[in-house]
């Protein structure tokens, strides 16, 4: 049924076929439709700032466009795009670090202690976000992306270039750290969290 086929989202194979036929602009447009949100979410997760994430996403797409004619299929399209995006984000983090002279632990630190000031108890969702922000960077990044990507471990693994087993381990540790902190604060009653509103 042609009408039904027209509404089917293009797959990576369709985009590859377009690339092989030399239809770069069409392929790029489909790539953008398919990965725009994911690239932006990866940037948001890594940079923690929507404006910087938007800039990094834009730079990533410009890079993708410039390199598209040289794409050699050694890595899958998604892996290739995520690699470009991660590199852009790491450059942005590096620039920011140079500008603000932040210490290396700020971004890649090994588990800073969860020492949050007591947040407003009225806003449990905000509290949760603050606690997540206090996790070690690797755990925070993985956990945030896991929820951004609708709890898909495989998607997170591909976006962060990690084995799925590693993602699961990091998620387990992040949740354990959050649970421990909630218990420490006496906020370990499940009913509190079941009623969270954003």
């Amino acid at each position: 049924m042609p009408r039904a086929m027209a509404t089917v989202a293009p797959t990576d194979s369709d985009i590859l076929a377009l690339l092989q036929s030399g239809a770069l602009e069409r392929a790029f447009a489909l790539l953008l439709d398919r990965y725009e949100g994911k690239v932006y979410r990866l940037c948001c997760t890594m940079l923690r700032d929507p404006t910087q994430a938007q800039d990094a996403a834009q730079e990533s797409w410009v890079r993708v466009w410039k390199a598209l004619k040289r794409y050699d299929e050694r890595a899958s399209l998604s892996t290739w795009i995520y690699t470009i995006t991660r590199n852009r984000c790491l450059s942005a983090i590096e620039r920011r670090r140079e500008l603000t002279s932040l210490s290396a632990e700020e971004f890649e630190g090994e588990a800073p202690a969860l020492e949050a000031e007591q947040p407003d108890p009225e806003d449990s969702s905000e509290l949760l976000r603050e606690l997540v922000d206090l996790l070690p960077e690797r755990q925070r990044r993985t956990l945030v992306l896991f929820y951004y990507e609708d709890r898909s471990v495989s998607e997170v693994a591909e976006m962060l270039a990690m084995p799925e087993g590693t993602v699961k381990t990091i998620l387990y540790r992040a949740r354990a750290a959050l649970g421990k902190e909630l218990r420490r604060r006496g906020l370990d009653d499940p009913s509190i969290w079941l009623g969270v509103r954003s």
């Binding site: 725009e36 370990d188 969290w193």
Partner: protein, 161 residues
């Protein structure tokens, strides 16, 4: 919302926390003007690429011209060297042939006269060449050219007519 792939959470707190995190960490979406800004950035990148390729083309041409000049210069030096060596030997041979005749005409000082004439000829060529390159000659050349063009113009216009 039930987790799709993560099955580690077993306690009620874990399950409640998963639901709470799902609500607290909602997917951000790109700004509404993201596509517009991206299109503009892509256009700028294209212009930059065009300018870059034009610059590289000019640079290539410049290098080609330099290489050509370099090879012309080397050719000229070889020609000059060849002319000097050939000229010296030809002059020696000519002098050997003509010397008895010159000696009969100029007497015992014939060799000195030939050497002086050769020296004057050499110095004249070198002096003319040096003067031609000096800035002093340029105004004179301009005057000379102006005078020539003034002189040629009536003829030229006559030809046109």
């Amino acid at each position: 919302m039930k987790p799709k792939e993560l099955s580690a959470q077993t306690s009620p707190l874990d399950i409640a926390l998963d639901a709470a995190l799902g609500r607290a960490l909602r997917s951000p979406t790109p700004h509404a003007d993201f596509r517009i800004r991206l299109t503009a950035a892509l256009a700028r990148a294209g212009q930059h690429e065009d300018a870059e390729s034009a610059r590289m083309q000019l640079e290539r041409e410049r290098l080609e011209v330099l290489a050509e000049l370099e090879s012309g210069y080397l050719r000229l030096r070889r020609q000059t060297l060849g002319t000097l060596i050939g000229g010296a030997f030809a002059a020696g041979a000519g002098l050997t042939l003509l010397f008895p005749g010159l000696k009969a005409v100029l007497g015992a000082d014939a060799i000195l006269v030939v050497a002086v004439l050769g020296g004057i000829a050499g110095l004249t060529i070198a002096g003319t060449s040096r003067l031609a390159r000096s800035a002093l000659v340029r105004p004179l050349q301009r005057v000379w050219e102006d005078a020539n063009s003034d002189w040629q113009e009536p003829g030229a216009s006559a030809n046109v007519r």
